[in-house]
Symmetry: C2
């Protein structure tokens, strides 16, 4: 794509397009608008042929410990490819033109953490920028590459661990109706079923993966007449809410209630008691996603690589789980 082509499409001369691109005066408003539209539509970018040597990350929410894990994972891979790592936040309001800016910069690859609309995906594919969705929260079209975690197995393992300890009344705080949460829930039910324990719908409680919602949900659950002896939270943060609810209800963890988290953020190791949690290897997932994305961008992919995978979760057993109290 050269400015000569744009000039031809717009029916103007090459110097005129050059002026528009550089914001120089001496172009009528009408011409400027017309040329700018063409530039945007044809996806012209200043960068040299191969585009900038960067991987761009798209976050909805940059706050929180998960973001660092992702950045670290990507950084490691990007260094090997001598790529810069660019961080973007595309959450509502201010994040409006961000994706257009990203497309304009022509990165070698894009990593989207969580959601990316069809329009947004097309904006990238239309310009030939490969992208991978990291930890997708929704069903994606077949051809969209992604890297997730084995959340079904995670739910299964967490449940089996509790069942193995003797628990039969196990509650689950199920986050929003998103892919990983549904998968974990399915794993939970599968493990209960395998153990011959009937599922009690009252023990599956919707709750956002925040500390506040974890607290509210657990408080209600633990106040009930036939309270659960174990709670599986949908994030470590949510598990902290459960800790607080248990404390306020005068229940000791793990003596009276066992708690399992999800994520295994660094903080999980140093809370009191240290949290048993399903490790989701976010940094590894991010590194894998970066590797895939950069491979897709290579002229000749190094290998006919797999472009969509789920990385294995593992259970990190600490001190928040124990056999249920004797009277249960």
């Amino acid at each position: 794509m050269t400015i000569a082509e744009i000039a031809a499409s717009a029916g103007v001369s090459v110097p005129t397009v050059s002026k528009v691109l550089n914001g120089r005066p001496g172009v009528s408003e009408a011409t400027r608008v017309r040329v700018e539209a063409l530039i945007e539509r044809l996806g012209y970018a200043k960068a040299p042929v191969k585009g900038s040597d960067a991987v761009e990350l798209l976050f909805h929410d940059l706050s929180g410990a998960r973001a660092v894990e992702v950045i670290r994972g990507v950084e490691q891979v990007a260094r090997r490819y001598r790529c810069a790592v660019v961080v973007n936040e595309i959450s509502g309001g201010l994040g409006d033109g961000v994706l257009e800016d990203v497309a304009w910069r022509r990165p070698r690859a894009v990593l989207a953490v969580a959601r990316l609309s069809g329009t947004q995906r097309e904006l990238l594919t239309g310009r030939g920028i490969p992208f991978v969705v990291l930890d997708p929260v929704e069903e994606l079209p077949q051809q969209v590459p992604f890297v997730g975690a084995t959340d079904f197995r995670g739910g299964q393992t967490a449940t089996a661990h509790l069942v193995g300890l003797g628990h039969r009344r196990i509650a689950v705080l199920a986050g929003p109706d998103e892919l990983p949460v549904r998968a974990r829930l399915a794993g939970f039910h599968s493990a209960l079923h395998a153990a011959g324990i009937p599922a009690d719908p009252a023990l599956v409680v919707p709750a956002a993966p925040t500390r506040e919602d974890g607290y509210a949900a657990a408080a209600a659950l633990l106040a009930g007449p036939d309270r659960p002896t174990a709670v599986i939270a949908s994030s470590d943060l949510q598990a902290m809410g459960v800790y607080r609810a248990a404390r306020e209800a005068g229940l000791s963890i793990p003596r009276d209630v066992s708690v399992v988290g999800f994520d295994d953020l660094p903080a999980a190791a140093w809370v009191d008691p240290p949290l048993t949690t399903v490790h989701r290897p976010l940094a590894d997932m991010a590194a894998t996603a970066a590797e895939i994305a950069l491979n897709l961008s290579a002229d000749t992919p190094a290998a006919p690589a797999q472009t969509s995978v789920e990385i294995a979760t593992t259970l990190t057993t600490r001190e928040s789980t124990a056999p249920p109290p004797a009277d249960h």
Copy 2:
């Protein structure tokens, strides 16, 4: 700086330099080495005149909650300037050529989190890339712009808070011999002095700002014959180590020992008990640093701006501090 000039300096033709720059074959090893040296020395960059529109961040350690805070703060400012935010880790080993790569990309500005050697600073200034040191840990030459926190006041406020509650035996876990730590320690002594409390050297204990060191130092301190009634940690993470040591010594926080942290990371609010801590506004500091750096990069600085500041710390009072036990 053009490849013609490099060719002239190297005594070769323009096409030869072009080949070296693009890693093409057909150049003898000797010539390649000579030309590469010139390219590096003269600071030639592919980017168009104005360089890429990016702010580059230099971290020594990308792990930990502090990094996200910084990135978020910078992101907000960078968006206004339509700048990409590039994240780099320059810790030993793998991080070797990183700064050279950064210089090569010609960002609009660089933000260094913590340490940056004189050589590294020259690499940037030599290429006309403005930079600001964020939260410096060492004395910097006069002209180097930086953004810090009012750590002296932070140490003072934390100490005054404890003194106000009635504490007289206050221990301080002093991190490595770095600027912010020295400032806090001075604030501590200043507040003790103002209250007419003699300083006890045994209560100033060196300890790295990690959970492990906090634990070890506090364990020793709390086992002593005349134990302190309050401990000021040099980070929230270190305070978590103190929590653990107190727990193991059978001491309750804040009834038996008060604990104050430093940083006020999100986790400080949800540990048990919620931590009283000196808030260091890292995101604001980062935003200010980005603003300064980008202003320095502007052809005409918007204002004859201040290029070095300390942002105010504040004490966030939660539940880990209380009057000392009656028998003290």
